[in-house]
Amino acid sequence: MIDLRKKLAWKTFSERTLSYSRVFSPPGLFPFCLLLFAIVSCVGCGKRTTRVEIGNREQILHLANGSEPEDLDPQITTGVTEHNIISAMIEGLVAEDPVDLHPVPGMAERWDISPDGKTYTFHLRANARWSNGDPVTAQDFVRSYHRALTPELANEYKDMFFYVVNAEKFYKQEITNFAEVGFKALDERTFQVSLNHPTSYFLSLLNHHSWFPVHIPTVEKHGNLYQRGNRWTRPENYVANGPFVLSEWKVNSVIAVKKNPFYWDADQVRLKEIRFYPLERLDTEERAFRSGQIHKTYKIPPTKIDYYKANNPDLLKQAAYLGTYFYMLNTTNVALRDKRVRQALAMSIDREAIVKNVTRGGELPAFSLVPPKTAGYTSGTTIPFDIPKAKQLLADAGYPDGKGFPKIQLLYNTLESHKTIAEAIQQMWKKNLGIDITLRNEEWKVYLDSRKLGKFDLFRYGWIADYVDPNAFLDMWVSDGGNNNSGWANKEYDELIAEAGRTIDTKARFEIFQKAEALLLDEMPIMPIYFYTTSYLLRPSVKNWNLTILDHQPYKYVYLDPESGEVQSKSE
């Protein structure tokens, strides 16, 4: 009964309200349509000038830079995105050549090396100045390195200084007088460094941001010298000695650096400003590139590489990058304890197929740990792709055709690209060796925790060199290496690495490294898979931009050419 009444009521109502134009006459409904139409169309008149076009005219370079930096204090930061910004603002004793990154004069206009290779004397430029006008003195370097080695600061790159006499002792507080450490200001403009051993790559080390000086009086003025969160890295406080100086920092939005008029080589600097954008999503930055908002992307979505190769090869830049993607094996695991098992696993991966079909970013298959031609070094050993031999090794270890092989697990951090590689390798081992492995993914910090605690059988790992030398890849596998969680410790290997550190002659040194690497690849606590490449998109108007092995860019040589036939987004 009630239902019927409701129905009737509804019917009466609807019969009388057929006319929408009455109910939603202009004051009723249509404003929203108008509004929608207005907001969508009001900007639509005329073609806009893009940020890149304006930048080209005014020498303002717009760069995507991955993510928001942790800080801009070179003695605190550890990452690549931070380095990209800091290296525009701070110059070390030496600088980098724009093409091959070899050390060229920076704050020091020249240097002398003692015959035993252990003492470096740097002669600072008379016109080297900080952006507040103060001269850059030898004392600035001494005080900066004092700060870097003070334990309270918790500088994660303090070991970059341990080549210097007594630096490690001071850091460990075995000595308390910093004057005993091998840094000396002989006078205002002469700075001397004494090393424990002749270190042939010492000058390249100086281009790592941990060796960059900071203006100590400024740091002291804006907070505790040895504490994080010091406000000296705010744009209004920052004091730099490089080609650019910080002018704006909007968190998660943009960091801008402007030309530093006090820079000794300011005439060389053609850019007026560089703006760094923390674009975290690869597809967002690719779209920003297409709509003319940035000159360069930080990376490129792997799925777009083929498209650009086919349609716009001029925009796509790909270059070797000094890093290796590999799996670390837990050598305390029941099965992986046997060297033959580790070798069998490594030999049965088809690395060519992985770079060709899975990663597809122009990577090189890695048959050794150190990327080829690292500072002229090439590994003497290669891991063969040899299935019969791998099967034989596995049978010798007591698992013929993978029978009786215990369940092992491969751990990687949650990311699609790691997953596809892991699945491909899982398939290869299944097919080639008859071994079943399971895959486990963990969120980044949990995954790092598992590594520390040794909670893995196989662990996905990647390593990017901090400086151009084979040592950057090889010395981490010594017995007490902080990043060696494989459980593998080998006295002979430790000795080889130490011996290489004492050797002056490059050829002899590289022969020792080859021996060490051969030993490492025979013992196989790690399985190299591929060598990294960097891939990104770059506008043709950016000139003097070189592809370098560490992806460093000495910005002072870069300039923008508005007449370069800029391709517009629509035609792409």
């Binding site: 009521a9 009466t12 109502f13 609807s14 009388r16 309200t17 057929l18 009455r22 109910v23 939603f24 009723g28 404003p31 929203f32 509004l35 929608l36 907001i39 969508v40 900007v43 639509g44 928001e68 942790e70 800080d71 801009l72 204090d73 605190i76 334990p151 309270e152 600061l153 918790a154 500088n155 994660e156 303090k158 504490q227 994080r228 969160g229 010091n230 406000r231 968190v251 998660n252 954008y277 975290e280 999503r281 597809d283 967002t284 779209r287 920003a288 297409r290 709509s291 908002q293 969120e443 980044w444 910090k445 949990v446 790092l448 925790d449 990647g462 902080g482 990043n483 987004s569 629509k570």
Partner: protein, 305 residues
């Protein structure tokens, strides 16, 4: 009404405290710390870092210090963004999220409510099916599909807008449409449901019988009751909109607050996560209070007690 509000505020204090305690102890329980990195730092470095931030103290003591400082308005430092405090980050992110939220809310209401009303006037007819299927599409198309779609058409193809950023007034349009469109779909469905409920009631028939025009019936009589479900939905929805959306903020590279909810958890940036969670919690509590007051005002069946 004053008594009602005071009582609600007093009740919310233990609620907020429980949220704070849960969030604090849960994030501490997660494996990995704020300073774990691919290049792992030696133990003495970690100890020094933890000492700098007071993380070497027992967890309950850290919580006590946190609450004490928070009550004085100091939400502590961020571990991930070393030279910004949590206060700095909220202060710089909130105005952006607030602005985006207001635009989105406006779009959600301006599209959603009229669409819902149209659909409710003649249910199960073409004028119901069209807005409702659009709403269904809006609900099913997540913002991470809708955002790139709008960018593809309006920024890349037509070239009217920037594809991302937050520098110019027109940079607001695409993110606001993306976020607002999504909420508009919900609002439309709720409006339709609420209106159908009201339109079938006796007092509407009475109004009709007395000769009120269709416009008058809808605007004066039905709308007030028909919007009640929308109002209660809007409380938490507004809090969500105002604190930003992680997805929309990362798609359009907007420097808002929303990203901190996700990234601070991934980074184990304990205090930033706490700041974001508490800020959101307070906003929700406040919005719910506003909604309750509005409901009493709109619905004659309810009283403050």
């Amino acid at each position: 009404m004053i008594r009602f509000i005071i009582r609600r505020v007093l009740i919310s204090i233990p609620v907020l405290f429980i949220i704070a305690a849960l969030a604090f102890f849960m994030i501490k329980k997660a494996p990995g710390g704020p300073f774990a990195k691919e290049r792992s730092a030696p133990p003495e470095i970690l100890r020094n870092l933890e000492a700098q931030y007071g993380l070497d103290k027992p967890v309950y003591e850290q919580f006590y210090i946190y609450v004490k400082n928070a009550l004085q308005g100091d939400l502590g430092p961020s571990f991930r963004y070393a030279n910004w405090s949590v206060n700095d980050l909220i202060r710089s992110g909130f105005p952006v999220s607030l602005e985006l939220g207001c635009w989105s809310l406006m779009i959600a209401l301006l599209i959603g409510i009229p669409a819902g009303i149209i659909a409710s006037i003649k249910p199960n007819s073409i004028s119901d099916y069209i807005p409702m299927s659009l709403a269904m599409i809006g609900i099913c198309l997540p913002t991470f599909v809708m955002g790139p779609l709008l960018v593809g058409v309006f920024a890349l193809w037509l070239g009217w807008y920037n594809s991302s950023g937050w520098d110019f007034a027109y940079d607001r349009v695409l993110p606001a449409l993306t976020l607002g469109g999504y909420y508009a779909a919900y609002v439309a469905r709720m409006t339709r449901g609420g209106m159908l409920e009201v339109l079938s009631q006796d007092f509407i028939r009475t109004a009709r019988a007395k000769g009120a025009s269709s416009v008058r019936v809808i605007r004066k009589h039905a709308l007030r009751g028909g919007l009640l479900p929308v109002i209660s939905f809007l409380g938490p929805a507004t809090a969500g909109l105002l604190t930003g959306s992680f997805v929309v903020e990362t798609i359009f590279d907007i420097p808002g607050l929303g990203r901190y909810f996700v990234t601070s958890a991934f980074n184990r940036d304990y205090l930033l996560l706490m700041g974001a969670v508490m800020f959101y919690a307070i906003l929700i509590v406040f919005m719910n209070l506003v909604v309750d007051v509005l409901q009493v005002w709109l619905n004659p069946k309810l009283r403050f007690d």
